[in-house]
């Protein structure tokens, strides 16, 4: 019974993780950039949600309608202002840049919101559904459902719109995309903005799941990196699979070993997967990642 409960919680958490990781893997797939600042932006969105909830009482899951476009705009500006300048730089330098961004954002958040743990606690936050002997925390369940809905919208956007097609096309074949007239620079900007927009929704959901403070972003980026590495960097289905698997693994470790060791699962996954099978479960083999 405990196992079933643990696995269930893991799957629900994994559903949320899938949304959080989707933006990161999307950006990588199209632009070959690992945005280490994704975690910091998640916390930023969570803080925005907190502010909205504190001042207006608006339910955090509904606040997504506000945070998503807001983060989209921030993502757009970040790309145009910073990342567009280093397009020609080697990969490692771009990672450093996004890392610098993460730290700067953490500093900014610390100054404005101070280093205090916060949590958004709507009325349903602490209670659970009882289904067949298992407990489903309402917050987690609502969060997971929301995440799935947003992921679904993202999927539709990518497959049913012209922009989505252009994004997928540019991810696979830049020259082919150019030859049909796609502006690869514009596609990169939009993709990055969409990737950051997912942190809007993700951050809002996150705000009700766990207490957070500015330095939490290290925890989150570790988890997200583990997920996309396992699932295959650049693959959305891979991100979902990786998220579910690691959500369960994290919960099982937490329940059966100790919560303090649950993060280690992610670190180990990162190292082992990148060395043994760098393309992960569903990704395509990237020649630059593996040394001769």
């Amino acid at each position: 019974m405990k196992l079933a409960q643990t696995v269930l919680l893991g799957l629900l958490t994994g559903g949320v993780y899938a949304l959080l990781a989707s933006g990161l893997t999307l950006v990588f797939g199209v632009m070959r950039i690992i945005n280490v600042a994704q975690g910091a932006l998640l916390i930023l969105a969570a803080l925005f949600t907190f502010e909205i909830w504190r001042r207006t009482g608006l339910d955090p899951l509904l606040a997504i309608v506000v945070t998503t476009p807001l983060m989209f705009g921030i993502g757009w500006l970040l790309y145009r202002g910073l990342l567009a300048r280093v397009r020609a730089a080697p990969e490692a330098m771009t990672v450093l840049l996004t890392f610098a961004l993460a730290i700067a954002i953490e500093g900014f958040m610390g100054l404005i919101w101070r280093n205090v743990f916060r949590s958004v606690t709507p009325s349903y936050f602490a209670s659970s559904f009882h289904v067949g002997g298992l407990f489903l925390p309402k917050g987690l369940a609502a969060g997971c459902v929301t995440a799935v809905v947003v992921l679904g919208l993202l999927y539709l956007a990518l497959t049913r719109t012209w922009t989505g097609r252009a994004i997928r096309a540019a991810a696979e074949n830049v020259q082919g995309a150019q030859l049909v007239g796609v502006s690869v620079v514009d596609v990169a900007a939009v993709t990055f903005a969409i990737g950051i927009a997912t942190t809007g929704a993700g951050g809002s959901i996150l705000s009700i799941l766990q207490p957070f403070f500015p330095a939490s972003h290290y925890v989150w980026i570790s988890k997200l990196l583990g997920i996309i590495v396992l699932g295959g960097m650049g693959s959305l289905p891979g991100a979902v699979i990786g998220a579910l698997l690691l959500g369960v693994a994290e919960n099982v470790t937490s329940a059966y070993v100790s919560p303090r060791w649950s993060l280690v699962v992610f670190y180990v996954v990162i190292m082992v997967v990148l060395l043994v099978r760098p393309q992960g479960i569903a990704g395509s083999r990237l020649r630059e990642d593996v040394a001769a």
Binding site: W162, R168, E172, Q175, G181
Partner: protein, 252 residues
């Protein structure tokens, strides 16, 4: 086929110099492509044949010289700009998007027209009429097609903008005879509708067999041009591929 036979003006290259990185692959290319023709460029490796196409389609800006269509300058434009003039390139390999379906791939050909949904739909219908097998493949992922099938899809995609000039880079490369025949049938069909085709071909006999005008390039310049039969019968062609140059520079 209901399609207005709009032909292009003359596509002209004058003194074009271009290259990648250090050297210059094209060393002063003079070329005229008559509207309504099937012009085929042949020549040994390193001659610069594919590079000529890339300078026309905008993937590579020329360092010197001019490229004009009907008098309007197109040299130096980016691919989107060149597309606006009705010139489309079907690249040598890898022009498709493997994880998109065939239909999506073909639709992407109309990227610049995407705001007019009904136009795009109409064009897609027309293209499927021209190449009916597309309807069969519509939902397959492009990555699952064979080389010959992919070449056909790429070709079909280029028709979405109703081009007046189609640039084909080595259409026969890696193709089995049946697919080869299909590709060249499509070439002839399009030409009958007034489309100008500029091909680069490895396979001299097939290329010149379909062409109405032959151009032979070597070492970055045009060496011979004329009706295909004459060029093919010219003994210098054997020399070119396996011997000296037309104007000998080396000690042979």
């Amino acid at each position: 086929m209901s399609r207005e036979a709009v032909t292009s003006g003359v596509l002209e290259l004058r003194g074009v110099v271009a290259g990648y990185g250090g050297g210059d692959v094209l060393q002063g290319v003079d070329l005229e492509v008559e509207p309504g023709s099937i012009t085929c460029i042949v020549g040994p490796n390193g001659a610069g044949k594919s590079t000529v196409l890339r300078t026309v389609s905008g993937l590579l800006p020329p360092r010197k010289g001019t490229i004009t269509l009907d008098g309007k300058t197109i040299g130096g434009l980016d691919p989107a700009g060149v597309l606006q003039h009705g010139i489309v390139q079907v690249p040598q390999h890898g022009g498709l998007f493997p994880s998109l379906s065939v239909r999506e791939n073909v639709l992407m050909g109309a990227w610049l027209l995407r705001r007019d949904r009904s136009l795009v739909r109409r064009r897609y219908q027309q293209v499927v009429e021209t190449l009916p097998v597309l309807a069969e493949w519509a939902d397959r992922k492009a990555g699952n097609l064979s080389g010959g099938q992919r070449r056909l899809v790429e070709f079909a995609r280029s028709l979405m903008v109703e081009p007046t000039v189609v640039l084909l880079d080595e259409p026969s490369l890696g193709l089995d005879p049946a697919s080869l025949r299909q590709v060249y049938d499509l070439v002839k069909l399009l030409n009958q509708q007034g489309v100008t085709l500029l091909l680069v071909e490895q396979n001299v006999r097939v290329g010149l067999g379909a062409a109405t005008w032959a151009v032979v390039m070597e070492s970055g310049r045009v060496r011979l041009a004329g009706p295909p039969r004459e060029v093919l019968d010219n003994p210098e062609i054997a020399d070119l591929y396996l011997g000296g140059t037309i104007t000998h520079t080396g000690r042979v």
